[in-house]
């Protein structure tokens, strides 16, 4: 999927993208190009990228790259794919019913789900809120177990 959506392998690229995406939600996916779930998510992202292009930018960060590891540590990314949302270089949290509000783990069931999530984030960001509730019903949110410091 690297050739379809902008794929980042360097920290500097990620930094500049975060800093330069202004007044738009930045959807930053951390994943591996060999993972099936990642690929499915990438497909959803690619297909919806144009629809949300007016208020969101989508980018992929390769979790296998050297320089990205620091981000994986910083964002506490253990499960892949994970999506972190930014708005004007600020991190946006979303409460989707799990313990981890800082990122979205897993894929989306439908393109519309993804669009709804991004829209919710955008609306909250425009109102000045840093955290937002997930608009999707719980059955459509992928579940996972959160580990604490490798426990």
């Amino acid at each position: 999927m690297e050739y379809l959506l902008p794929t980042l392998r360097k920290k500097q690229e990620v930094d500049s993208l975060i800093r330069d995406t202004l007044d738009k939600v930045l959807v930053l996916r951390f994943g591996l190009s060999s993972d099936a779930v990642c690929l499915q998510l990438d497909d959803v992202l690619y297909k919806s990228a144009k629809d949300v292009s007016k208020f969101a930018t989508v980018a992929l960060a390769d979790a296998a790259a050297e320089e990205i590891q620091v981000y994986l540590k910083y964002f506490d990314i253990t499960y892949v794919p994970s999506i972190v949302f930014f708005f004007n270089a600020h991190h946006m949290k979303m409460d989707s019913g799990s313990a981890d509000h800082t990122k979205w783990v897993g894929t989306f069931h439908k393109k519309q789900d993804f669009v709804d999530v991004v829209e919710a984030i955008y609306r909250a960001a425009m109102k000045g809120k840093l955290i937002v509730n997930c608009p999707l019903p719980p059955e459509r949110i992928p579940k996972f177990q959160l580990l604490y410091k490798d426990v």
Binding site: I18, L22, V70, F75, A89, M92, T102, A125
Partner: protein, 422 residues
Amino acid sequence: MNHNNKKKKSKNEQQEFDFCEVCRLNHNNGRRHNFFPSHKNALSSLLARFQSKLSDVKFFLKTPMLTLPEHAHQNRLWCVFCNCDVPELDSQFACSNAVGHLASEEHWKRVKEFMWKYGGGMDRVDLFRIAEADYAKWEKKCKSLKGEAAKTQSVGTLNDIHNKHNTEFANSSCNNNFDVLNSCIPNYVVPLHSYTNERAPLPSSVLSSSVSETGPSLHNIPGGSHVQDANYLKNSTGYVDNQHFPNSLARECSLYGDASNGSVYSGVRAGLVNLTHISSTSKVALEGNVHTGAPPPWLDGTKGDNLDPAWKPESRNPVSSIEGKSKLNPKRVGAAWAERRKVELEMERRGERVNNNFDANWLPNFGRVWQSGTRKESRKQFQIENDAIREQDNHLEALMPIQPYISKRMRKDATHDTVNKS
């Protein structure tokens, strides 16, 4: 009980989809749809529009007029009830096909069906048709007209028709003064009656009452189109060009000047050109126009400014861009960052400021998972952790230089050997 419930259920849920012609909508509300306000509004507007068109036709019902074939095509009518077009192809009289259609049996049937289906009110059916008695009267009048026309055939049919029109219009409700010259107009070019610069301003009061002119008349011959023109003019105000005479003359007329003074267009339907003159003042002649190769007015004097935005849509003055963006909620997340960044980017684009290489260790503002406190603290915490890990790694490496393993025996032997040797 159950049977009734089933019936009710089936009515609501299994109602088949039907197409409402009035709202142009597929719905499964059944007969209820007719009582919806949206349907009622659409229906009333549709009927009102058709009624206005019918009023024109009914005018001709009362006073039939002969019409030229080339002007007859303007009188075509779309019948809403029959969903068919009623063209006026071979009609000698104005709107004769339309009159015939409206008087026909099938049309009446369809009107009734339409009204019943869409709830228009069965009492209004007669408004949309022509009764047999009226039709018979109309036919008689047409016959008499034909007879008279045949009698007074001398110069040519066209001329007679013009004369006919003259006499008829004198009697008709519209007091139109036909130009005598018009009666002699053959089917080819005719010298202008007035200069092209002349204008006959028609005040709206005049227009609304009746179409009377102070100069050479406008549209004339086609009686059929006349009423429509009158109606048309009633709706429009402004200047009417005198040179819109029928036939090829009008086709040669051209628009002078530009629309800079904003005079209103009004279409003069002499069956030909629907253009009005815009007042061509001498000023325009001096300044030049497209034909003389002068630059367009929007580029005069603002050339430089206008080009830039086309090329650099984003690099407008910071002031204007800030004004534009102030529509965005200033309380939105990261607003201050966005503003600062935008200014920076703009300056970079302008080349004033070199790309500032921000710290390679920059990290975005992130609220960590198992963390309490502000986000800045989380960043600091992370950096501390990071440094600790790095230090640990370095420390370990420094401590232990990698060496091959030597067993005790080997070491003993080695020392033994050296002792022995020495």
